[in-house]
């Protein structure tokens, strides 16, 4: 039975890059434990000899020619949604604190 502690939740949140409030940590510790306990019933299913399904309609290795196509927009259209741009580049906060 998985019971997630506050520390477990904080570690997961850190891995997933989510800043949580104290209240959320408490709440998620209970809720996520409950959800994990529910899905753990699968552990009791005998699926011996079966392979995992990763693609449902049986397609494998779908490829296309590596060609440049027009999708009806310009790079400048995409840049308009950027929070910060400088010289047509994505501007981010400093990487080393």
């Amino acid at each position: 039975m998985s019971k997630l502690t506050r520390d477990d939740v904080l570690k997961l949140a850190r891995l997933a890059r989510l800043q949580l409030t104290d209240e959320e940590v408490t709440e998620f510790s209970e809720e996520l434990s409950e959800i994990l306990q529910y899905v753990e019933q699968l552990g009791g299913v005998n699926a011996a000899g079966l392979q995992p399904t990763n693609q449902i309609t049986g397609l494998t290795n779908v490829t296309r020619p590596d060609e440049v196509k027009s999708y009806g927009y310009e790079p400048s259209d995409l840049l308009e949604n950027l929070p910060a741009v400088e010289d047509n580049q994505i501007k981010v906060n400093r990487m080393i604190g």
């Binding site: 989510l18 959800i35 552990g43 449902i56």
Partner: protein
């Protein structure tokens, strides 16, 4: 409720083409109904300007005698996780607030090419995570039949919009039941096609191994024409399958058709009103000459547990792109890049998105991957094999859509697991990839109840034909 009936889509288009009715009037009617029914919170934004401009262009073309298309002047509403050129696309999430679509979904392109006009974007559970629209970061949509109840979800805005007569059809997405369950709760037709039949290019991704796009309509005939326009490869979604020839030829003789009634869906715990409506539909189909037999898929009760591992796993991956740097909400006050990720995502995502991201991160982590994710994908195989075995003996499957009619707003809001259980009868088709439809089948205490019909993968045409005949029996 007011009279909300639009003519059938084919008839609206024929009238616009012939100049008997104008696209302009259709758009004005849609926009007025949206304004009149604002209290239901079905709509996030209307596209007045672009819709009016398109209507004028279509009316001009029709007047010149040009062939506009099979959806000439037909207004529709897109769930707000479809990219519509030049319009805000939020997926009802704070993190995408203000995001303007620089391109357009293939589904929208194809509908527009036949003359359809997108008039509005509908509300949903943020990122389509939910069964009630209560997880929308903006507001909760109300059930058209009872304002104290949910419309279902996640395509709750689309379902309510169709039932309220805001447009003849709406688009939804169905990852675990998000077209069918709101159609059942709100009282319209909701169609989930075979996985890979409609391109998802330009639609916000949720769980890529089960996500499909489909129509919500007033009649099966309308769902068939919308599917027919949207179906088929576009070269931009690598999971696509070949389409069948014509989804609008809905001919089938019910006599002798073998329909399996899913035992696991009619078990105890099913709401009495839902059970009565489904049993009554079974009797009508029998009287019409169909052969109904009980069938069992013993692993089906596990489908929800399989889904709530696979879905959050894929969600955690798909939502990784929302990093606050390239689009969407961005916290610029951070002192460094890492903190900017943490704060942008922490503030931008709502609670349900966070829950799913963390569950997904957990089940995909190296120590737990085999026990959770791999085991879920393997049990998925077991379920598919049982389905294939059952389908050797029957042509179609039948069952309820959801275990209950629409529940009260707030009833399940503080219990995420209880909310997930609303998907218990719909997730099976998503995991198996087969087509399924929710048809209005009756009411219980004034609330609509849907009947679910399913067919084998790639038998969409046959399923729509069965649904058309069943719809006539239930009317």
């Amino acid at each position: 409720m007011a009279d909300t009936s639009w003519p059938l889509i084919a008839s609206i288009a024929a009238d616009v083409q012939a100049g008997k009715q104008t696209a302009h009037d259709n758009v004005e009617r849609a926009l007025k109904t949206i304004a009149d029914q604002k209290e239901f919170n079905a709509i996030i934004a209307t596209l007045d300007e672009s819709a009016r401009a398109r209507a004028k262009a279509i009316d001009d073309r029709a007047a010149k005698g040009e062939n506009v298309g099979r959806l000439a002047g037909v207004p529709f509403i897109a769930k707000d996780n479809f990219l519509v050129f030049g319009a805000d696309t939020t997926a009802a999430s704070n993190i995408l607030k203000g995001f303007v679509a620089p391109y357009q979904a293939t589904a929208i392109n194809r509908l527009e090419a036949e003359g359809a006009i997108c008039v509005a974007k509908a509300n949903l559970d943020a990122f389509a995570h939910g069964a009630s629209t209560e997880n929308s970061d903006f507001f909760t949509t109300k059930n058209p039949h009872d304002k104290t109840r949910v419309p279902g979800g996640s395509s709750g805005g689309s379902a309510a919009a169709v039932v309220l007569g805001m447009a003849p059809f709406a688009l939804g997405t169905d990852t675990g039941g998000s077209i069918r369950q709101p159609s059942s709760f709100s009282g319209c037709v909701g169609y989930k096609p075979t996985y890979g039949l409609v391109s998802r290019s330009g639609v916000v991704a949720m769980a890529s191994s089960t996500d499909v796009i489909g129509p919500l309509t007033r009649a099966v005939e309308d769902a068939a024409v919308v599917l027919d326009v949207m179906a088929g490869p576009d070269g931009m979604d690598a999971t696509m399958i070949e389409r069948q020839d014509d989804y609008t030829k809905l001919n089938i003789d019910l006599k002798g058709k073998k329909i399996g009634v899913i035992k696991e869906y009619l078990s105890e715990g099913l709401d009495k009103g839902v059970k009565t409506v489904v049993e009554s539909a079974i009797e009508k189909l029998k009287t019409a000459g169909a052969e109904l037999t009980e069938v069992s898929l013993p692993t089906l009760p596990m489908a929800l547990a399989v889904y709530y591992i696979i879905c959050p796993a894929e969600v955690s991956s798909n939502l990784g792109r929302y990093d606050g740097q390239r689009f969407g909400y961005s916290d610029r006050s951070a002192k460094d890049l890492d903190t900017s990720y943490l704060q942008s995502r922490g503030i931008g995502f709502g609670k349900e998105a966070k829950r799913r991201i963390m569950i997904g991160t957990y089940v995909l982590s190296s120590g737990y991957y085999d026990a959770y994710y791999k085991q879920a994908q393997t049990v998925r195989t077991k379920l598919i094999k049982e389905f294939e075995t059952v389908m050797q003996d029957v042509d179609f499957l039948l069952g309820p859509v959801a275990p209950t009619p629409a529940f009260k707003i707030g009833e399940n809001a503080n219990d995420p697991l209880q909310m997930y259980l609303s998907d218990v009868m719909t997730v099976g088709a998503n995991l198996i990839g087969n087509p399924a439809i929710s048809l209005p089948a009756g009411q219980s205490d004034g609330l609509p109840i849907g009947l679910q019909l399913m067919a084998a993968q790639r038998a969409d045409k046959e399923l729509l034909a069965l649904a058309r005949q069943t719809e006539a029996l239930l009317a």
